[in-house]
Symmetry: C4
Subunit: 346 residues, 4 copies
Amino acid sequence: MERLERLALDALPERAFAFLSTGAGELTTLRDNVEGWGRVRLLPRALVDVSDPNCRTTFLGAEVDAPIGIAPMGYQKVAHAEGEVATAKAASESGVLMTVSTRTSMPIPAVAEAMKGRPWWFQVYVLKDRSITEKLVDRAVEAGCGALILTADTPLVATKPRLAETSAGEFDLHLAELEGTAAEGSGRRDYEGLEQDPALDWSAIAWLKDLSGLPVVVKGILRPDDARRCVDRGADGIFVSNHGGRQLDSAAATADALGAVVKAVDEAVEVYVDGGIRSGIDVLKGLALGARGVFVGRPVLWGLAHDGARGVEEVVHALQTEFLEAMALAGAPRPSDVTRDLVARV
Amino acid sequence: MERLERLALDALPERAFAFLSTGAGELTTLRDNVEGWGRVRLLPRALVDVSDPNCRTTFLGAEVDAPIGIAPMGYQKVAHAEGEVATAKAASESGVLMTVSTRTSMPIPAVAEAMKGRPWWFQVYVLKDRSITEKLVDRAVEAGCGALILTADTPLVATKPRLAETSAGEFDLHLAELEGTAAEGSGRRDYEGLEQDPALDWSAIAWLKDLSGLPVVVKGILRPDDARRCVDRGADGIFVSNHGGRQLDSAAATADALGAVVKAVDEAVEVYVDGGIRSGIDVLKGLALGARGVFVGRPVLWGLAHDGARGVEEVVHALQTEFLEAMALAGAPRPSDVTRDLVARV
Amino acid sequence: MERLERLALDALPERAFAFLSTGAGELTTLRDNVEGWGRVRLLPRALVDVSDPNCRTTFLGAEVDAPIGIAPMGYQKVAHAEGEVATAKAASESGVLMTVSTRTSMPIPAVAEAMKGRPWWFQVYVLKDRSITEKLVDRAVEAGCGALILTADTPLVATKPRLAETSAGEFDLHLAELEGTAAEGSGRRDYEGLEQDPALDWSAIAWLKDLSGLPVVVKGILRPDDARRCVDRGADGIFVSNHGGRQLDSAAATADALGAVVKAVDEAVEVYVDGGIRSGIDVLKGLALGARGVFVGRPVLWGLAHDGARGVEEVVHALQTEFLEAMALAGAPRPSDVTRDLVARV
Amino acid sequence: MERLERLALDALPERAFAFLSTGAGELTTLRDNVEGWGRVRLLPRALVDVSDPNCRTTFLGAEVDAPIGIAPMGYQKVAHAEGEVATAKAASESGVLMTVSTRTSMPIPAVAEAMKGRPWWFQVYVLKDRSITEKLVDRAVEAGCGALILTADTPLVATKPRLAETSAGEFDLHLAELEGTAAEGSGRRDYEGLEQDPALDWSAIAWLKDLSGLPVVVKGILRPDDARRCVDRGADGIFVSNHGGRQLDSAAATADALGAVVKAVDEAVEVYVDGGIRSGIDVLKGLALGARGVFVGRPVLWGLAHDGARGVEEVVHALQTEFLEAMALAGAPRPSDVTRDLVARV
């Protein structure tokens, strides 16, 4: 992945790379996410027949070729002209789950079409003007979205002081869906209704389920009590995330928070995780700590920046290949074999 | 804050900067204070309505706009010609609590006036010649001081070996109050009565309360048993502090000591903390660990050195803005929502 | 050992050195193996009569001059023209146990002859074409092998991304036994039957015992439950190993895994360990954590690359001398005195 | 102390400095000794009357001006022409306890005379030819020695690989006592009887007590069970030490081992400690962890190398001054006030 990060650094204007890569505050959580997986040690099983390894699984019942997903990320045109469409093509080719951000830079139907019938989910930022959110959810439903991801860690967008010297305006921050919808609603890009709704609360789960008829996965959960409350409020899945270190700096690394959330959920719903995933070994660790699926963010953008859909495919393929090998070496030839006892108490 | 530290380094003679910045011994505690906050991880709450965040609170009943205070620091003319008056102006503008040191380089009434009726506290070094201390306390009371801070960690001033090559005499170490009073008492700056009273003991709390009629906060507490004794002896508040690493080197970082003190106090009185605070995230951590308010030292001097009152305002404004954002992102829109469960056991 | 590593680096083409030295993935386990021993602290015994220190012991009943063995390593001609024969000469001279890899670059009988009647074991990779494995085991038995080491952590050979830019083909990867046998079986070096058998399972222990009539030591065990199962399945010994960091990256360091395995085995069989051993102090730590013997890998290759049999003797002699001194200084003049209480809980 | 170390580095030939400074093996314990004290954090007491601090104490009943001793070190002429006599002068002037090594480079009576009636102890290496040890003990008793230190961690002298390239022969390794006595016994410097007796065991305590009529302190204890056995065997004191990292490398740091030894001893005898002491804060930590006295090694040699007796006095004076200040700042004005609760559990 380091090689791809360097290639992306070469492919992009410095400011664009910084915009995609940065984190909140002093980058504590950004770094701790990666280091968190690095602190996990494995206890592989010996002498297990791994002649038929298979990493297929399901996410909320939908079949995927690997327990790997594309984490929701907006503004993908900053990385590559084809943006989310290229990423979707790669996800579809690779058989992994795609997610589309509210802040997508390509229209939802175009992204959906690139998925060629494979499952994808829509990530929802609930905005002050809820009519906009409703329209976007409608468009996602119409385009065949399989589930909604309710982002629960962004009542406001955190400042990024390390990005301060970088003027974000010099590259294209086009928002394909939001701007169109906002235009209808207000005609202005700076329409206040486009801001995150800071009043968002637990009622949002039921609201989104009613609105869409889709399962809702709550993303941005780090606490066992919140995980429990998601279950009680009818969520269909939980996504352990600290927004890739881009929201509350000093928030716990997801590798550190995952285990307690999984324990609290007690198999009531599926748990996903993202943040700091850089290899198939990390994917194995995520599953061993109880995740159903592991989502990848920045490496996808690096691949996208480097070589469009082909670059993303390269990233996903590398992760999947490493994960398959890691499963075999760990004596866990199916995702369901990747259990808590593989993690060493070191 | 690093930017401001560099600006202060540029603004001041090297020796003046060293005098303000240094710590005792090998600087172990000086560094550990900062690292201590860095070791704390947060578990933000999801889906809390944070549309009306508000960081106002009270310190001993006095209203402040944020749970942030200016830590007591003497010799502020070393940083800027207006010294403590500039700091007070900024505190007053920002609505945060000011403290005035026994070793103030500006007269107490001038500092008090700059506060424009907003609350400030007087930090008391009890000196060998108690009559001097009494006079200073009288002057503080007369000027409208709201509480006394009894410094309990300085029976003598620790040597600063890392400052040894620096001759302190080349910049102005004028002591507006002490020198005036000493003149009355002895006529000489080196009057022994001006030294810290090493015989100071627990009776000082009652003595200061009787003398002033003001609440007394005991500063320099790191031990649960001492905290308990403060309560038993009638203190109105406790200030967890290791004097910014300027007294006993190797003393525990305040981030490490705070929790046990808060537990021992069991809400009997308010607990404050200083040492190593560099961001609004640190302020949030201090409150999460049980502090009522978090006091800031060196960054205030950096702002003061860089741009006088305006520089201090910049520092306080940055901390307050970061703290407000951190509260919202942590799902804790009021200081009273910032509770122990926000801290991860990592 | 650092000196010898540098000498080997000088003696070998860069790629050959990299091929011998590298590990899997990000080299996490490769490094952690060495650091793992470094984290162990010792509590030496005082005032023990150590006038007659003696490090002789037995491995599965066979007498060895020190609790040190040569870890199984293939392709030793990459390090030196005499390959495994040179290593065997040195092992025989030093009185330590030799092991011969399935991937030996010298014929088994030649290596066996160099052992001059001293004990050696044959390391078994079970291949897809089991008839090849059977032939090799037969040859080993015929040549006087004392025990078989069943490699249990290699259902497939892990990729070595850090070695990717290195073309392995430029030095001799001759496999004296496998190629001969494969020629019989298939006539082609790329015969699929030569690959590791990924279907290998616990039945392999009984199969190898029946086939050879020899004791079987299972290598690549890191988990207490697997260790227990080895005992239940009739293994005669357990070899705690992560394949020198060359298989599952992020696997626990052997120094961290050893203690729990030893406890689970509860003296039912002998336990051996390898991975990261760089000094006689490490040998002492291995024994203190419960190993019967400690096997050395890369340092042997360094000695071999530097000076053939003489270089290997130098390495073994250094380890043995350091171990003898460490035993005396620890107040443990016999291997049986090197017990768990010598390890500090730090 | 860093300044003095640099001055010593300037004052001595590189090899002489290396000879005095080095440790065994990879210098793990040498470094860990210093870092061990660095890991200890303090919880100072507030508002204690420290107007009359006093660091006088007794070592085995003998009065000393500070709980500081000169650790036993041989070959002091390597550091300075006056060797142990200079060190003794400084110890006497400073009122701290001197120890004289079996490997002293100055005659015992000369060193004793320099002590001017102040207490000093003789460090005993029991040699193969016990008649030599007996003669040296007799000479020490005759010269007024107050106690014997039985070195229990040196059944043989550890090799120092990091010193290997340094030829020790180029500076004076004169042994004032051993060579004279050996001459009587054998006439040859390489007489085998001069070597450490590796058969030394617990009977040595009674033997030395009978021989000398003096109290015996056993030095080189790191284990609670050994400490207990010292008490049971009649030792009058225990000296927690790993020989300054010069014997078993990887032995636990004395700061880490001290607490458990003190607990096991349960006040039956006095406990001393050395290893890694570099400041008066470290002295305070040693006492807080239960030591009666803290002995200083290398810094004394640095002072000696730099400026003879004056240099040693400077070192001792600095430690004593720092310790007095640390006592006051910790709210512990007497050595007996420096108790376990001053140490933070960080």
